[in-house]
Symmetry: C2
Subunit: 135 residues, 2 copies
């Protein structure tokens, strides 16, 4: 039984305000890769008093606690993943759709490369850009 995001927030000692509950429920009930603007739109639909600043502050907070992961694909804004399992992203260059995939070989390679260069691995990201095969 994985803990819910809300559980983790409580475990992290976060004050569970009404706004945070709404934002967290948006995150839990959406596909990944939401932008702040998207979170804001959906949260506002549940509670019209929520401000954009609060969404930004909340996303930053969750990011610092590693409860979400901030990503910069090649866009002018950030998107956020609701944490959990490691995975990589394939971004459709024509539609901006984001597909997740896993691959166990990559991590092994990355670990080896970092070691060879004399570094301790902290994190890594692999992004693949492509478009759907035609016909």
């Amino acid at each position: 039984m994985g803990k819910t995001l809300q559980d983790r927030c409580i475990a992290a000692g976060l004050k569970m305000t009404g706004q945070r509950k709404v934002i967290i429920s948006v995150l839990e009930n959406s596909d990944n890769h939401l932008s702040v603007e998207m979170v804001y739109e959906r949260a506002k639909a549940e509670d019209s008093s929520i401000s954009l600043a609060t969404v930004y502050r909340t996303m930053n907070l969750l990011d610092e606690l590693d409860l979400v992961i901030r990503h910069d694909f090649n866009e002018s804004f950030s998107r956020y993943d609701v944490n959990i399992d490691d995975h990589y992203h394939l971004i459709d260059t024509e539609t901006s759709e984001v597909v997740e995939f896993e691959n166990s070989e990559v991590e092994a390679i990355v670990r080896k490369v970092a070691a060879e260069l004399g570094y301790d691995l902290v994190d890594h990201r692999l992004e693949v850009y492509g478009h759907k095969k035609k016909a």
Copy 2:
């Protein structure tokens, strides 16, 4: 003899203004991963009349022509690589130093993954974050 960046710009039909020559020489005589601000500072040292807007416009132009590659590491601004060979980046999380490395296995894996997901590969990037091994 690889063509110089200047050669490629001319080949691409770019008007070689004084400002562009300076910017290009800065790019050719610096380490990779420059930010616009860094390019601007160095270009200004050669020709104090160069404006930041021109540097932005030039970098965008070079990026569109694939003569440089724009990167968003986890910073608030972009950095640019002077094209040429494919490589990946290891970013030192403590110093922001960027180390380039190559790895032939990754591309094969990426190509395979894209194909399996039904995509034509356009591009891919791998970024590794770490810090120097202590003692």
